[in-house]
């Protein structure tokens, strides 16, 4: 065997078959873990692994243009497919550049395995070229991480990393491999041949007594509501299915966090829209006034709860989460159930039927009547325009023209992201990829690239802002190289819109550094990269140009010039409660938030 053998799969395990270099162990481990795509960027400390990759046709390597792009692409791939995203980068700057995406994956519970090269073991600690304390730096932004000091540990660590990344509450796991370990000879063991030595064992099944209690509480509720989050999507399509079934049994309305959109179909009459700071009036008021709240796979984030001491004051709260530390962290709950969202929802359906529970029809009809009053407020209304493209209108048209297609949406971060969440409607899980917890500008384009790789024939659109898109615009080059026809739909208002909005609301309209006055010509930029550029600046042309974008089989940069100073509404101002939302008809927006609210984020 040569050092650069093609690694055979499924060959009977014989002793001499097991002998390979650390780099080959990595590659073989990835293949055995079912990895098909990895996102990476080579460098000195990972060259042996790249050498092993050279001879491995089963792994498709996507060369990004910046390591942050690799991590976000892996997130998009993972979020849209349910499979872990895999990243391969070099030591030092390779690792530090990847950190933003790793943290993003931690906050949004995305399964990801990141392999970083490291300087040779004997140089660790000497401030060697491109040395960084990668495991030290990433300890607080990974679910777990490893520094491999002995090639004999490598097979176990690789398989364990995938297990930890994909089970329980998913998250990023990093493996730092010094270059000498990549060259060292060791023996390979497959995923089933190695026992993990950790005590790691996430609790999947919820407590049966508590589930029975929960079913009883929900049956007795007069004003129940489901508040669901990204955990339902992470628990797989079966969890979304169980949610739909259980919600139908109980007759309760359903709202969701930003991360949970798509788990429950937007077309269902029980859907209230997103909740939280830019959620709908009906969702937030229903949360405030409910008597039993069923929180599934969400974590009472401050963007959701608004003012904590006024958060849903009269309700009994049931919290289903696989992460015990999410329970009672921000909001005290009455009935915690630790377990996988899908498993617990399925058990709830069984318990509901076994207990002979029936929804309280009379009470529910009063509850729905109240919800209809809130819905009649038409909270997503905005002032239309004949001459300027309203950003909301742009998203509405984009939705109308793509809803019958096989479409996946990613976003950057800011106003456009909230408008997309409000106006784009999702019927299925895994169709919506956004940076929720960390709020990372620059997420959308690389994420779209990851999504497109997982779904080659689908329409993948990154809804972007002109500021966010510039944070990872270089990945357009990746899209061209790998022939990934992603569509970048930029709402260009020449402002960092959300920053501008907060400055208007909180800082006396002093617009400190929140506009860009030397933006690139996005059409020419697209053409420079080899993509197609489309510009639209009036509402009359919008439909035709969106159609042109959809029809194009190449990457497209669509620059949609929108109303510059539009605010994203409705909104729960900081420091306010769910039932104190402001809407588009607000008169004096500069005085809504008091000085105390300005101190919050």
């Amino acid at each position: 065997m040569t050092a650069h053998q093609t690694i055979e799969s499924a060959a009977p395990a014989q002793t001499n078959d097991r002998a390979m270099t650390g780099a080959e162990i990595v590659v073989r481990g990835l293949v055995d873990q079912g990895v098909e795509v990895l996102f990476g960027y080579p460098g000195g400390a990972v060259l042996p692994i790249y050498d092993a990759l050279f001879h491995e046709p089963r792994l498709q390597h996507i060369l990004v243009r910046h390591e942050q792009g690799a991590t976000h692409a892996a997130e998009g791939y993972a979020r849209s497919s349910g499979k872990p995203g895999v990243v391969l980068v070099t030591s030092g700057p390779g690792a530090t550049n990847a950190i933003t995406g790793i943290m993003d994956a931690l906050m949004d519970s995305i399964p990801m395995v990141v392999i970083t090269g490291q300087v040779p073991t004997h140089l660790i600690g000497t401030d060697a070229f491109q040395e960084a304390d990668t495991v030290g730096m990433t300890r607080s932004c990974t679910k777990h991480n490893y520094l491999v000091k002995d090639v004999r540990d490598l097979p176990k660590i690789i398989h364990e990393a995938f297990k930890i990344a994909t089970t329980g509450r998913p998250g990023p796991v990093l493996i730092d491999i010094p270059k000498d370990v990549q060259f060292a000879k060791g023996e390979y063991y497959g995923p089933t041949e190695i026992a993990s030595t950790h005590a790691y064992a996430p609790k999947i099944k919820g407590d049966a007594n508590r589930i029975a209690d929960a079913a009883r509480m929900i049956a007795q509720a007069r004003r129940p509501i489901f508040y669901t989050g990204g955990g339902v999507i992470n628990a797989g399509p079966k969890a979304s299915q169980a949610l739909r079934e259980f919600a139908a049994l109980t007759g309760a309305p359903v709202t969701s966090t930003l991360m949970g959109l798509g788990a429950f179909p937007a077309a269902d009459p029980a859907w209230l829209g997103m909740l939280g700071m830019h959620g709908t009036f009906e969702a937030n008021n229903a949360m405030h006034d409910c008597d039993v709240m069923i929180c599934v796979g969400a974590r009472f984030d401050d963007r959701v709860t608004g003012r904590l001491d006024a958060f849903s004051p009269g309700s009994k709260k049931i919290h289903i989460d696989i992460d015990a530390s999410s329970i009672n962290k921000n909001v005290r709950v009455d009935l915690p159930i630790v377990g996988d969202a899908g498993s617990v929802l399925e058990d709830l359906i069984v318990a509901w039927k076994a207990g002979g529970h029936k929804a309280n029809k009379a009470a529910l009809s009063d509850w729905w009547a109240q919800i209809d009053v809130w819905r009649a407020r038409q909270c997503l209304n905005y002032r239309g325009s004949e001459t300027a493209i309203k950003p909301q209108y742009a998203i509405e048209r984009l939705y109308a023209l793509t809803k019958d297609k096989d479409v996946y949406i990613t976003t950057e971060v800011g106003q456009h992201q909230m408008w997309a969440a409000q106006f784009f409607r999702f019927e299925e899980p895994n169709r919506w990829m956004t940076s929720g917890g960390l709020g990372t500008m620059g997420y959308g384009l690389p994420a779209a690239i990851g999504v497109q790789l997982a779904h080659p024939g689908s329409l993948v659109i990154d809804i972007a802002g002109e500021a966010s898109i510039q944070m990872c615009i270089q990945e357009l080059s990746t899209a061209i190289q790998f022939d990934l026809p992603v569509k970048i739909f930029i709402l260009n208002n020449e402002r960092m819109g959300m920053v501008r909005q907060w400055q208007q609301l909180l800082h006396g309209e002093r617009y400190s550094h929140s506009y860009s006055d030397s933006l690139p010509d996005f059409v020419k930029l697209a053409e420079a990269y080899g993509a197609v550029g489309i510009r639209c600046d009036n509402p009359g042309d919008l439909d035709a140009k969106i159609q042109e974008m959809i029809a194009c089989d190449r990457p497209v940069v669509f620059e949609c010039l929108v109303e510059k100073d539009e605010n994203c509404l409705p909104m729960i101002p900081s420091g306010k409660a769910h039932n104190e939302m402001i809407m588009d008809d607000i008169e004096d927006i500069g005085n809504v938030i008091g000085e105390d609210g300005a101190g919050l984020v």
């Binding site: 300890r139 679910k143 777990h144 030595t197 950790h198 401050d302 003012r307 904590l308 009672n328 105390d596």
Partner: protein, 185 residues
Amino acid sequence: MTANVQPAPASAYDLSPNEQVEQTATFALLVDNEPGVLHRVVGLFAARGYNIESLTVAETDRKAHTSRITVVTRGTRHVLDQIEAQLNKVVNVRRVHDVTRDPNGVERELALVKVRGSGADRVEALRVAEIFRAKPVDTTLESFVFEISGAPSKIDKFLDLMRPLGLVELSRTGVLSIERGVEGM
């Protein structure tokens, strides 16, 4: 705007305003004996703004590859529950035991105490040490080094008495804990 003073804002950054009673708690952790484990535990406390009042760590079972960390912290009941949940999430942490809430928990600490003095103070220091079963491990004509072990409160009391008698230096191990009875952790 200032005329209309609003109640104190509440956000995730201002948790549980109604619950201000802080208590001390001792957590015993059984962890994998691997490089970086202590950093994971200490980093968790630092990142989430929890206090560490004392910390001890040493390998306890070479064969099972485990170390034991004992950490004393302070917080409201709510915060302590959150600390326990967060510690349980660390992959290398095998078990977390809240010793303070366990009626069978035993806590002990060892201290080395240097006292300098002469005449009556010196005699009194030795007499108090005897009462506390503190052992002199070094002596010069004008100083003692005492070794004392016991519950942290006993050591605190001993130190209170030594201070006026010429306490010059102190070294404490931090709290160790174990459960009474036949069962192991």
